[in-house]
Subunit: 209 residues, 2 copies
DNA sequence: TAACCTACCAAACACTTGTTAGGGAACGGG
DNA sequence: CCCGTTCCCTAACAAGTGTTTGGTAGGTTA
């Protein structure tokens, strides 16, 4: 037997709960996608990481693309669950930003791989009709952040001498690129990272004179 | 004639200077790489954008990978030319950071495509021996920025209550992700963007009370 | 005119890709 | 014991991949 994929280190669930295995496979797929990039990831690599053969994946999913789809959409669903809770809380501009940043780092902690995939691939996925919901999400995202920033400028809590759109991209990027280096179980908790980031974004890194 | 690639809108240089055409092809290749991702880009797409057939590219380059190599290495060469000039100028910590940020935005302006490629692909290219110079550059990069930040903390111009490594990633990322949305010839010049970014990073976006 | 060089085309190559079809082992319920 | 379900394997498929080989039009040089 030259090839025994069954002999992988994966724990065998004798009585496998149905949709559990599905999420398990999606998790490993997301990990490979994040590490190698979607296009560079072959279904055989995913199957390898899951301890099975390429064709077997098609018992659970009907295409490689639908795996990506499911990974991204479930991530966005959970993200907006958290975001909407913040936005509906009726907080002030500064508190809203603080809550959004904190929530973002929590999502990065929970969906590190999905976030990394989103960052790398979303740009050229938005062309395909199947992934149009990415554009919708992006628009809603911009509306939430930009609106809060503008509210803050009007309220006099955020500086008015800056291009708001530039500020938006600044805050957005600083938060989300963190997914590229963040590793769960590291030195800092998501909340601790959020606090330091907020401190830098709001007050700057220079000593006040 | 079902396929006449010559009829593209490319201007024909009757007497083409040798290495000029090479840079021309590398520029279009970089553009496609940046837009579609390296792995998703086929040599036929590059050839299409250049107005020729796939095989013809191999008169100028000996592989798709060597195109990527040349794009990245020439970018890094020019980047370090600018960086070294700044680092050798004997400036104070704050002035060094300001100069580095400004220089970075200038490089983004000049090498937008190469920067975008670098960001997307560098992570999983560093495995290959051919691209080990990416790791070297990254190390040198970190040493320059982190060293300057630490120097600033010691000198009392940068806050001491922050994790310096976190600050480093913060500053680094805020600057370089800009390449993902920056378009040359936009509203702001690289210098103007650098000024606003520096203002945000150094002094924060909150109103001082 | 002849030899030569540059820059490309045409056609194929070996290989990898995502995907499908059919089969079979394990297991539980009747 | 048979039936159906679950989950995976084996083996192949057509399309697309990077790359090679040989040819050739047009300009330059001698």
């Amino acid at each position: 037997m030259p090839n025994t994929p069954q002999s992988s280190s994966k724990k065998k669930t004798p009585v496998s709960g149905g949709p559990e295995r599905r999420r398990e496979l999606l998790d490993t797929a997301a990990e490979v996608f994040a590490a190698q990039g979607y296009n560079a990831t072959t279904v055989r690599k995913i199957a390898d990481a899951a301890g099975m053969l390429a064709g077997s994946l098609y018992y659970h999913f009907d295409s490689k693309e639908s795996m990506l789809d499911e990974i991204l959409s479930t991530f966005l669903d959970e993200l907006w669950e958290g975001y909407d809770a913040v936005l509906d809380a009726g907080l002030g501009p500064r508190e809203t930003i603080e809550a959004l940043v904190t929530e973002s780092f929590r999502e990065i902690d929970r969906h590190r791989a999905a976030v990394a995939i989103y960052q790398k691939e979303s740009r050229h996925l938005t062309d395909q009709p199947r992934f149009h919901y990415l554009t919708d999400s992006q628009r809603k995202f911009e509306k939430a952040w930009l609106g809060t920033l503008e509210r803050g400028v009007s309220a006099g809590v955020f500086r008015a001498d800056l291009d708001v759109r530039l500020t938006y991209r600044f805050v957005r990027d600083t938060v989300w690129v963190a997914a590229s280096w963040y590793r769960p179980g590291g030195l800092h908790s998501p909340e601790e990272i959020a606090r330091q980031y907020l401190s830098m974004v709001l007050d700057g890194i220079a000593v006040r004179t």
